[in-house]
């Protein structure tokens, strides 16, 4: 009985992330619009977009192969599974032993692999640009993320996000410059991975520096909807990771009962809102950088992560 209840809570999280993700995207857009003194679209506009796209006919390029048609579903599935394995409102859910932080990073890598292949499938130059740049960005972002995982594991003695969150909420943490560096590094990686300004621009379609939009240029209809949903999920996933590691307050522990979940859910939503707000502000005040500056940007994130791991040796006083 308890197992069934646990699985139900886990399924609840699966649904929760799926339902919240477009709202988060809409919220960030809204804030950005407000900062630019525009009114901006409704908060629920992303849902309307998805609904509209889902009902539309798909236009496939003449030589699109099965990779092109199956990739959206695989991208969506891997991202969704990854997002559902990150602790959101509760730690230690029943599926969480399936993947630690490294495995979650690798799952996102699988999604990216499929997306980059889909970009190459039709054989257009835009798709190639997107795939090639995406893989360049990933080749720096992924090591940075893994070094951050290394830092956290050095500190918390675990790569399991639930354990890390528990440790970070505990009294043993203290003020550490390594943590600040890891946070900054993680934010930089999150910005790059989610195709946000200054690395990429989610709002443009006719710019030579675009990356993510170039890869999905040929997609339409339900395929596009599924990919957009996956992109929203990815943003939610990164904010959830940042939230559960660096702001681990108000997170319930699995098995505490529904009262605890009911209390932790608003905390989670508040964290997402705060993260989204900061993202919107950051995106508004900064300018898009040239694509070959991205390597320096992410190189700095990698260095920060490395430095964070190094300094931990000092701060533990061993």
């Amino acid at each position: 009985m308890a197992v069934i209840l646990d699985i139900l809570v886990q399924l609840g999280q699966l649904l929760l992330v799926l339902l919240l993700a477009p709202l988060l995207t809409g919220y960030v857009r809204k804030i950005k619009a407000h900062l630019l003194r525009r009114r901006g679209p409704d908060l629920i506009q992303p849902y309307r977009d998805l609904h509209k796209l889902l009902r539309k006919e798909v236009v496939l390029a003449d030589n699109a192969s099965w990779v092109f048609r199956t990739a959206p579903y695989l991208i969506f599935a891997t991202t969704w599974v990854a997002a559902a394995l990150v602790p959101t409102f509760a730690t230690g859910l029943v599926f969480s032993p399936a993947a630690d932080l490294i495995a979650i990073v690798a799952l996102l890598g699988s999604a990216r692999f499929m997306l980059a292949l889909a970009g190459l499938d039709v054989g257009t130059s835009f798709g190639g640009i997107g795939s090639s740049r995406e893989m360049m960005i990933a080749s720096l972002a992924e090591p940075a993320l893994l070094m951050i995982a290394f830092t956290l594991s050095l500190l918390a003695g675990s790569t399991q996000l639930s354990s890390v969150a528990t440790y970070m909420a505990g009294p043993a943490v203290g003020l550490r410059v390594s943590l600040a560096m890891a946070l900054v590094g993680l934010v930089m990686v999150a910005i790059a991975e989610n195709a946000r300004i200054p690395v990429d621009n989610p709002a443009t379609h006719l710019e030579l520096t675009m990356v993510h939009e170039a890869m999905i240029l040929e997609y339409s209809g339900r395929h596009l909807a599924v990919i957009e949903a996956a992109a929203s999920l990815k943003l939610l996933l990164y904010l959830s990771i940042i939230g559960c590691v660096f702001a681990p307050w108000g997170v319930a522990v699995a098995g505490e009962g529904f009262a605890a979940y009911a209390a932790s859910l608003p905390a989670y939503v508040i964290k997402l809102a705060a993260g989204g707000f900061l993202l919107a502000v950051f995106e508004t005040v900064i300018a898009k950088m040239r694509v070959f500056r991205v390597s320096e940007f992410l190189g700095a994130a990698l260095m920060l992560a490395l430095l964070a791991a190094l300094l931990l040796f000092v701060s533990r006083g061993t």
């Binding site: 009902r55 993947a99 890598g109 740049r133 909807a225």
Partner: protein, 670 residues
């Protein structure tokens, strides 16, 4: 029993090779040779698996009265040998199956058929050998037969050079191993492995043995900076032999290293682990960066072998470092990761070489810039190659990820090491490993995307046809293995437990005992991974999404010209090429690693010549390590050349001078 069966199998292979010399001209010989090789490999595989799973504690030995008269030839089948026997014979069986289809179209059958079974037999013998003499004989036999296979197509440009460099490096490797065994045997000169195990080594000797072993086994495995022959020689051979060389022979070299460093040398020292880690890290990153710059499909795969060997050596180095500090559990984890990666790499590398062989056969091209769009013409090969690419890029839920994940978990234990050098070295190596994994994904997006996706770049690619069923069968066996080893890694890790127990004196917790087949390297609160659950979740989520959308939203679709922002260009030349795909990464890493330089040749206005972009890459290792040696050898040869044209009196002077000099040395020495 098992050992006898395998040895009889090896004998059968040698006999088949000899018979193939006689019947090389007949068409049916090819089928006969590969069928025998397939059967023998299958039998040996079953024996090895049986030994590993059922009876790993029994270590049958056989000694035969061949070889050196006072020594004989000793063979032994322990758990370590059995594990590598699995790798060798799995590779051998699939390559033979592939060869049944692929080899039928071989033009130079007379140069391939006799050597193929001999090569397989040689590799089996290396793994089974239990004395230094038999080991070196088998090693050299393996090298020479593989050299003969590399030279099978010796008329193609470049292959002769590849064979020459391979022969040089192989001789160097055998020489170092010979010296290593000489040192290991000590002044008593006891060459059986049992005697060597009981010999105590002084620190100096141990250092020398480790250096020589790294040189000998490392050069065969393709460790940077001894890798130069590998990307030349592996692609030159016929594709199923490339698969064997890259997937299996490099593993035999790893076996040689493991046997000497873990088993024969006695307790390791911590700095030996550090040295191995450094070489491993360098190989991992340099291998994949070289692969990214490559647009010859088979050579790209060969460079990836260098990368994966690096990953294996990272695991082995960690194992040595942990074992030296008596951290048995961590050492077991690192060694298991390395051995599991040995298996995984042999599986997906064979698969990828089979795929590239299928492409080569149906188009006659290895150059990716002249391929493209093959997924429409060769759908099954494309699918198999895609799975292999995902596996080698360490993507879950496939097998490559599991072994890299285990390696990472071992790296995360490094803060517990007492040596400060290792404390800092290991995380840095971890960074390199992460970098190489990410770059490998980029590289295989390139390899698969440019070759199989997009539009056909030449008529050769346009007219490609799917390869034969037997070749496809070999590929799909490996595809299934990639998935099974990724989804159910617990059983594979448990199978390796007796091997690791023998090497470092501890083993990982029994994995198949954990709930839901989760793998837990140390403790559940620390880290865990469940490939099965992930696979099921992804499969369910993807099909659920597809079903829901097709059922309730829309399933209409229509074909039309590509959109491409409104400017679709009909010419296939406007697609991204392998070179342009790798350009951003070349910009980021290449200026340091390869001293990459781009040169743009822009004609003046009115000039009708096309503009050109030249990219100059330098292999710094070749320039700094090998080129000076080659130059010195050339100069020496020129000088010595004169000795060939002396008078008789001159020769006599030379000989008597040498004699007198030797006598003087002898006199001084005493």
């Amino acid at each position: 029993m098992a050992l006898d069966v395998v040895l009889w199998g090896v004998l059968t292979l040698f006999a088949t090779g000899a018979a193939a010399v006689a019947g090389a001209r007949r068409g049916s010989t090819s089928t006969f040779v590969y069928a025998v090789a397939l059967v023998v490999s299958m039998v040996a595989l079953c024996m090895a698996v049986w030994t590993l799973l059922v009876d790993p504690a029994a270590t049958p030995t056989v000694s035969l009265p061949i070889g050196l008269p006072w020594l004989g030839a000793h063979f032994r089948l322990d758990a370590l040998a059995a594990a590598f026997l699995v790798v060798v014979n799995l590779g051998g069986a699939t390559a033979s199956l592939y060869g049944l289809g692929y080899g039928r179209h071989e033009e130079e059958a007379g140069r391939v058929l006799p050597f193929f079974p001999a090569f397989l037999g040689g590799m089996n013998l290396v793994v089974l050998a239990d004395d230094a003499f038999t080991f070196l004989m088998a090693w050299e036999f393996m090298s020479l037969t593989s050299w003969a296979l590399v030279m099978a197509h010796h008329r193609q440009p470049g292959n002769a050079r590849a064979g020459y460099i391979y022969l040089l490096m192989a001789s160097l490797g055998t020489l170092s191993l010979l010296l290593a065994f000489g040192l290991l045997a000590g002044p008593a000169g006891s060459y059986t492995f049992d005697a060597i195990r009981n010999t105590q080594l002084s620190t100096t000797v141990a250092t020398a043995v480790l250096a020589l072993t790294l040189l000998g086994a490392g050069s065969k495995a393709g460790l940077v900076p001894l890798h130069v022959w590998l990307p030349l020689a592996h692609p030159a051979a016929p594709s199923h032999v490339s698969a064997l060389m890259s997937g299996v022979m490099t593993k035999v070299a790893v076996y040689g290293f493991v046997r000497i460093a873990f088993d024969l040398m006695g307790p390791p020292t911590w700095w030996s682990g550090g040295v191995v880690l450094l070489f491993g890290g360098a190989s991992a990153v340099l291998g994949v960066l070289h692969a990214l710059m490559e647009h010859d499909l088979k050579r790209l795969l060969a460079y990836h072998t260098v990368e994966n060997i690096g990953i294996i050596f990272i695991g082995l180095g960690l194992g040595l470092a942990f074992a030296a500090n008596d951290m048995r559990g961590a050492a077991a984890l690192a060694t298991t990761a390395a051995l599991f990666h040995v298996f995984n790499h042999s599986v997906f590398k064979s698969l990828l070489f089979f795929g590239s062989g299928a492409v080569l056969r149906s188009t006659g091209e290895r150059d990716m810039e002249r391929l493209g769009g093959l997924i429409h013409r060769m759908p099954y090969t494309a699918f198999a190659f895609l799975i292999g690419s995902a596996a080698i890029s360490a993507l879950p839920p496939f097998n490559g990820f599991v072994s890299e994940w285990l390696t990472f978990q071992a790296i995360l234990l490094s803060p517990q090491l007492p040596q400060w050098v290792l404390k800092f070295l290991v995380p840095a190596i971890g960074g390199l490993l992460a970098l190489s994994a990410a770059l490998a994904a980029a590289c295989f997006v390139k390899a698969f995307g440019i070759t199989f996706l997009g539009r056909a770049r030449t008529s050769l690619a346009q007219d490609a046809r799917e390869t034969d069923r037997l070749s496809l069968g070999a590929m799909f066996v490996l595809v299934v293995l990639c998935l099974v080893a990724g989804v159910l890694p617990a059983y594979f890790i448990d199978a390796l437990a007796p091997v690791v127990q023998g090497l470092v004196g501890a083993q990982m917790p029994r994995q198949s005992a954990f709930a839901w087949l989760t793998i837990v390297p140390i403790a559940e609160s620390r880290s865990s991974y469940n490939g099965l659950l992930l696979f099921v979740l992804i499969a369910v989520a993807a099909s659920l999404a597809a079903y829901v959308i097709h059922r309730w939203a829309s399933h209409a679709s229509r074909r039309s010209a590509p959109w491409d922002c409104g400017f679709p260009d009909a010419s296939a030349a406007t697609q991204y090429t392998a070179g342009s795909f790798a350009q951003p990464i070349r910009r980021v890493f290449g200026s340091v690693v390869f001293r990459a330089r781009e040169e743009i040749d822009m004609p003046q206005p009115g000039d009708s010549r096309p503009a050109r972009l030249h990219v100059h890459l330098h292999d710094l290792l070749w320039d700094t390590l090998y080129a000076p040696v080659a130059k010195a050898v050339g100069i020496t040869a020129d000088v010595l050349n004169r000795v060939q044209f002396l008078t008789i009196r001159g020769y006599l002077t030379l000989v008597s001078g040498a004699l007198v000099a030797l006598l003087v040395i002898l006199a001084v020495w005493q």
